[in-house]
């Protein structure tokens, strides 16, 4: 006999194999993080049940068991290795194993060159992710599978990681997308993440075996894999136990049960973990803290029988819905704080019904709605006003502290902060995807351990050693908890540590403040997460200052909306908000359709509320609503895209030459097009990026943390190859043109050398003449000779003279292109000046004009009736100046110059587009911000990736517009 244990992130599995390797005992249990107790319990049980077990060798596997195994004298087997041993034993002939666990995803290639792969750190949380999504959809985990089976349409959900996916699903839910469609989309995302992230170009074929919890329990998920891989995989009997069985097969060493059980029980880890100061040293300190915060109070009055004017504020947030009713003194008559459960419309309806039930004659003078769901709720219930979140929160905070200088709001999903200067919002910080979900993570985590959130966070108040769990994102935090437990941190330490992590994330990632001087002394904190005393305390400790937390911290958005409605209405009139009668006749129908009015072909969710009231979501522009195409006259992005597309192939005797249209090609295409056209090639560029094109190359991407624009290149090259282009030209360029704005003129490493990645990871490039040589376009004098040397290797009939002439034309073409761009930019600026329009400098890189990369953000911003120019239009308007960073990349030099120029104009605002994973922008964003803020300009950053939550972008832009309006 042999015994194997598998300690996963959420479950423990144990098996006993007999001499023929037959399973004679197995158990699968959730351990609720009580790992050691559970191991001891299971070992005891096995010993009691199976006679003779004491002479059987034992081995343990699973990452959560690594420390215990080491210290308690049980052999440890790495889990992927164990899987491999088991697969080879039980299903000989298996080619590929796909195993999904709670934390990790693995693919094993067993034949034709053994390879074992695990997801990288930034793509963790597979099984746990499905769990979380079920919570988000408010369905039991078991029902996910059944739901997915009924899907009709699917949405694209980021497959990067759980945090990103959640950010995508949240707005879908708020738009009213069907749960069945979302469930299927989630499965598809899991498949896509696993296949793209782990296969990395290697084909998954032959006999495929599915293992692990999610794949065992969810047939629909298996079917999704089958479909994507075009195969029929098997999920063997005992698919949950392969790791444990593999450990058993590797077991060589017997254990002394008494001894080991004793050791396991007493295992406390090394106690060697990083920790912070306790939140409170004593109960007295805590009481004083409580007393201080109890002062920030809104009085609660009786709703029933109230006859005066009433104001209703609603906040349809990403995860929760809040509603308040105020009297004319701003006191609370009624309030509601509920999870949105994926249907904010239903919750608001119930909220209103409740009010009318208690006080049927309530005199509602005015109402307002804010939050992500602002539009849908406003449409559904005819609310009087919509107000952007920032203003709503600011309005509410002012009520508690009229001279407030800084507001920070940590909700379930989002972190929002505003700096107030002279009574107006002066700076806005909103979290990007990586920081999202911190608040609700506390909740989910508490529930997973079987606690209520209040109970769980209270545990941390007096923890002696609050553990340091990092602050990158919730996926990383989750893993850090595992590590901390292994090192012997108590549940109290972890609770306090999580509260600290949430605060640190807000302070150092979102706000980028290192001390209270940067925030101002008058701080109001709000959002549901701050109702948690541990979080509040952690914030005060980190910043070394006292803050005000209103007792209605969780309701501030709704409260601000109600105050806004009161102010706007001037206390007069009658609200047109749906009354009790309207609610009785209320209908809500959802239809999913594709827009089809332009090439974006957005997936639309059409909500109808009866009597012709309709709300469309999922659109990138206003076209499906207004049926009019957005004007592109004042949009530089649209213009540039048109210019590039105007270069058409001209037949040439040397045959076809294809150029992948991405990254720097968005600016250098004119150069290379002219160069090769002159050399008598028929120059083609790959078609416009879209989802399909991306997926064509997705499987060959080796690094999941590289930026999306780079990832797209795989699809572009693949498309060129598939289109039968025999020569593909994608050169390496260490240097770009020197525009004399900085200390050097490099390209970033990814732009410079991505052709190497294409060459080394896409096997189809071997079918064509793939030219990825190094060129020095920054040295026009040397260029022809050097280019001739490189190219004559591929095209021996070229002559140096030809290349010289072509090069000359190429440089001219590039200059002509840039001149055109700048001239058009000047025109746009001049027209905007004349028409008195605001000018937005949408600053990024040349490739940000790709609609698949910018997700139509240019159109969205243009929809606010502003002019849009790009950074390169205005960067030549300033002379080189000293920056506080090494100004060494051509594209980035333009950003600094553009920022500098924007500070000289009252009618210009700068919005920086940043691609997720752009390491260089960690440097540029701080510098651009500094340049702008030194001259009291607001800095706005929009981080974009494969998918972008346009709802959040809209809020950001509206906040910015609202802030500059009050100037």
């Amino acid at each position: 006999m042999k015994v194997g244990l598998d300690i996963g992130s959420t479950t423990i599995k144990c098996v006993v194999l007999d001499e023929e390797n037959k399973l004679i005992y197995s158990t699968y249990e959730r351990h609720l993080s009580q790992i050691t107790d559970k191991i001891a319990e299971i070992l005891n049980r096995v010993r009691g049940k199976i006679p003779g077990i004491e002479s059987a060798p034992v081995a343990l596997s699973g990452s959560a068991g690594m420390g215990v195994a080491q210290d308690c004298g049980i052999d440890f087997v790495q889990e992927v290795y164990a899987t491999r041993v088991a697969a080879n034993t039980f299903i000989p002939g298996t080619d590929v194993v796909i195993e999904l666990g709670g934390e990790d995803a693995k693919i094993l290639f067993l034949t034709n060159g053994l390879e074992v792969r695990m997801n990288g750190t930034c793509a963790g949380g597979t099984g746990a992710f499905i769990d979380q999504m079920a919570t988000l959809l408010n369905v039991p985990l078991e029902e996910m599978d059944g739901l997915a089976a009924q899907y009709e349409k699917t949405y694209t959900i980021a497959s990067r990681c759980g945090v990103f996916a959640k950010t995508d699903i949240q707005p879908l839910l708020n738009q009213g997308a069907r749960k069945s469609d979302i469930a299927e989309s989630i499965f598809k995302a899991v498949v896509s993440q696993t296949v793209a992230g782990l296969a990395q170009g290697r084909e998954i074929e032959g006999q495929i075996v599915y293992l692990g919890g999610p794949l065992t329990f969810m047939s629909e998920l298996r079917r999704c894999f089958d479909r994507t891989l075009n195969t029929k995989g098997i999920c063997p009997e005992n698919s949950l136990y392969y790791v444990a069985a593999g450990a058993a097969l590797c077991a060589e060493q017997r254990i002394n049960y008494d001894d080991v059980i004793e050791k396991v029980k007493n295992y406390r880890g090394s106690g060697n973990f990083a920790f912070n100061r306790p939140l409170f040293e004593s109960r007295a300190e805590y009481e004083a803290f409580k007393a201080r915060h109890d002062k920030a109070n809104v009085s609660q009055m009786e709703l029933k029988g109230y006859t005066g004017s009433a104001y209703i504020g609603m906040d349809a947030g990403s995860t929760t819905v809040k509603g308040v009713v105020l009297n004319d003194r701003g006191e609370l008559l009624h309030s509601k704080y509920l999870p949105s459960k994926g249907n904010p419309v239903e919750i608001i309806k119930e909220f209103l019904e409740e009010i009318y039930a208690v006080n049927p004659d309530l005199n509602v003078v005015s109402s307002a709605v804010t939050g992500y769901g602002e539009d849908i709720i406003k449409n559904a219930f005819d609310a009087d006003y919509g107000v952007v979140e920032t203003i709503a929160h600011f309005t509410a905070a002012k009520y508690f502290m009229p001279d407030v200088e800084f507001i920070i709001d940590i909700g379930g999903q989002d972190i929002k902060c505003f700096k107030i200067h002279n009574g107006a919002i002066d700076n806005i910080f909103l979290n990007e995807a990586c920081s999202s979900g911190c608040g609700s993570f506390l909740q989910t985590f508490a529930n997973a351990l079987g606690y209520e959130i209040e109970e769980f966070s209270a545990l941390g108040l007096f923890a002696e050693r609050p553990v340091d769990l990092g602050s990158r994102c919730t996926v990383f935090m989750n893993s850090s908890v595992k590590q901390a437990q292994k090192d012997g941190a108590t549940i109290e330490d972890i609770s306090a540590g999580l509260s600290l992590s949430v605060v640190k994330n807000a302070l150092y990632k979102v706000i980028r403040a290192s001390g209270p001087d940067e925030l101002g002394k008058r701080i109001v904190v709000q959002g549901g997460t701050f109702l948690n005393d541990a979080v509040l305390r952690a914030f005060e400790m980190e910043m070394g200052t006292n803050v005000v937390r209103p007792n209605i911290a969780g309701l501030m958005g709704a409260y601000g909306a109600a105050l806004y409605a009161r102010r706007k209405s001037g206390g007069k009139g009658k609200s047109k908000l749906a009354n009790a009668e309207d609610l009785r006749n209320f209908v809500h129908e959802i239809k999913v359709t594709n827009c089809g009015l332009c090439s974006n072909n957005c997936r639309l969710t059409v909500n109808s509320f009866g009597s012709g009231r309709r709300f469309i979501a999922g659109n990138r522009c206003e076209r499906p609503v207004t049926k009019k195409a957005p004007s592109s006259d004042l949009n530089m992005y649209a213009y540039k895209l048109g210019l590039i597309n105007a270069y058409k192939p001209v037949e040439g005797i040397r045959g076809k030459l294809g150029i992948p249209m991405g990254l720097n090609m968005y600016e250098l295409y004119p150069f290379w097009y002219r160069f090769f056209t002159e050399l008598k090639f028929e120059v083609h560029h790959s078609p416009a990026s879209d989802r399909k094109l991306y997926q064509r190359g997705q499987q060959t991407i080796p690094s999941d943390t590289v930026c999306f624009p780079a990832k797209l290149m795989h699809g572009h090259v693949q498309t060129l190859i598939d289109n039968g282009i025999e020569n593909i030209f994608y050169p390496c360029l260490s240097y770009n043109f020197d525009e004399r704005l900085g200390d050097n003129h490099y390209n970033c490493p990814v732009v410079a050398y991505y052709p190497e990645v294409i060459k080394n990871n896409m096997k189809d490039v071997r079918k064509v003449n793939f030219i990825k040589e190094y060129f020095g376009i920054h040295r026009p004098k040397d260029f022809p000779k050097k280019a001739y040397e490189r190219l004559s290797f591929y095209f021996p009939d070229l002559s140096l003279n030809e290349v010289r002439i072509a090069a000359k034309r190429a440089y001219e073409e590039y200059d002509a292109y840039m001149t055109k761009v700048r001239k058009k930019g000047d025109e746009i600026i001049a027209r905007a000046e004349k028409e008195g329009k605001k000018i937005f400098v949408l600053a990024g890189r040349p490739y940000h004009i790709d609609p698949e990369i910018n997700h139509g953000i240019d159109k969205l911003i243009a929809g606010f009736d502003v002019a849009i120019v790009s950074e390169d239009v205005i960067s030549p308007r300033v002379n080189a100046f000293t920056t506080h960073v090494l100004n060494q990349w051509t594209y980035h030099s333009r950003l600094y110059a553009a920022a500098k120029y924007v500070t000289t104009r009252k009618d210009m605002e700068l919005v920086q587009l940043v691609s997720f994973g752009c390491g260089v922008d960690a440097i540029t964003t701080d510098e651009v911000r500094e340049i702008l803020e030194n001259e009291s300009k607001i800095y706005t950053q929009i981080k974009i990736d494969e998918i972008t939550n346009l709802g959040a972008v809209k809020i950001r832009i509206r906040s910015l517009l609202a802030a500059i309006d009050t100037d």
Binding site: V80, H778, G919
Partner: protein
Amino acid sequence: MAELKYDKKTGRLMFTKQMKREGYKILMPNMAPIHFRILASVFRSFGYNCELLETTGPEIAQTGLKYVHNDTCYPALLVIGQFINALQSGKYDVHKTALMMTQTGGGCRASNYIHLLRKALKKAGFAFVPVISLSFGMEKNSGFSLTLPLIRRFVGGLVYGDQLMLLSNQTKPYEVNKGETMALVESWSDRISNLLIDGKGYTLEEVDENLHKLTKDFSKIALNRVPKVKVGIVGEIYVKYSRMANNGLEDFLAEQDCEVCLPGLMGFASFKVDNRIEDYKMFGGNRIKYEFCKRLLDYITSLETLMIESAERFNFVPPHKYAHTKELVKGVIGYGSKMGEGWLLTAEMLELAETGYENIVCTQPFGCLPNHINGKGAIRKIKEVKPNANIVTIDYDPGAPKVNQENRIKLMLAVGREELKKKIEEQE
């Protein structure tokens, strides 16, 4: 406290002659322990009051996160965190302290660390602390200059550091008397430091003589040669060497009963010089600079030859020969890929696979840009050329839990052990 002087053009605070005279303490990060100890003595012998920062602990990363953009690479977070932590510790007279940081000027983010450090200093209230760029002419300071005699001793220090690291890695796992290797490293580090301080030990003849003695001493360590899994470590330079950054990777591998090989700093030095030669060949440029770099590379190569010869003489696996390493990467990645560790990173993996260290940990800071190309991006091709290569890539980050990293390394080791077992069985 010396008068604070600022560069007229850029407004940068400079390290002045007066500061040097007043004995300003110059703090240096400790990237590679063996090398940097020797290098610090070299600086001291030229009148710079250098001190290596040996601090570790989680508060360093925490301090870094507080003062540096959180998406910046991990080495920057750590190095800057360590500096500020030191300044805040009360251990130094902050008005008589300067900081020293390397700056290569390449196209990766690392050239900006020094600027991020200055930004962080300002945020933390230490704007008056001067920062010295250890680079070839990127920033000038009247109180600090890389003179030729200093450079020669500096390079000498690199040679000895590399050799000590190489030899100790080959003896330590097998030594019969535990601790013997490290004691020898200790005593030789002192000897070499003293030599260099005395202005000796850096000419080719002296290097040859000392390497011979040093290697001979290591060859006398009694060893018990049992077969062990041999692991090579490559990666972003700071994460590769620094124990603080890589969570004690070398110690972990030692615990797992492995022999470790870290390609040395001389290869990196050759690479950086060679880049200028390749740039000239590829794009054209200044002929005089080109000739100078060629000479410099020749000089480094002659030192490298001495290292190889002495190692071979005493039956050690010699350090990689730069020219050969470079040859290996032909057809895999172009010589123009020079940012960060550039093609050298890929080449080192190929070289390790060739010299018996086919189990490889490729370390990088989370989101490292050049490693998308030369690390993760090249592995598929490496496996094609060297099918025996067993590579795991590990991201390091303040939030990346050690348990996940170790679990992945253990997977790589499990495969490595299986191969080792096979090899042993075949031999029997």
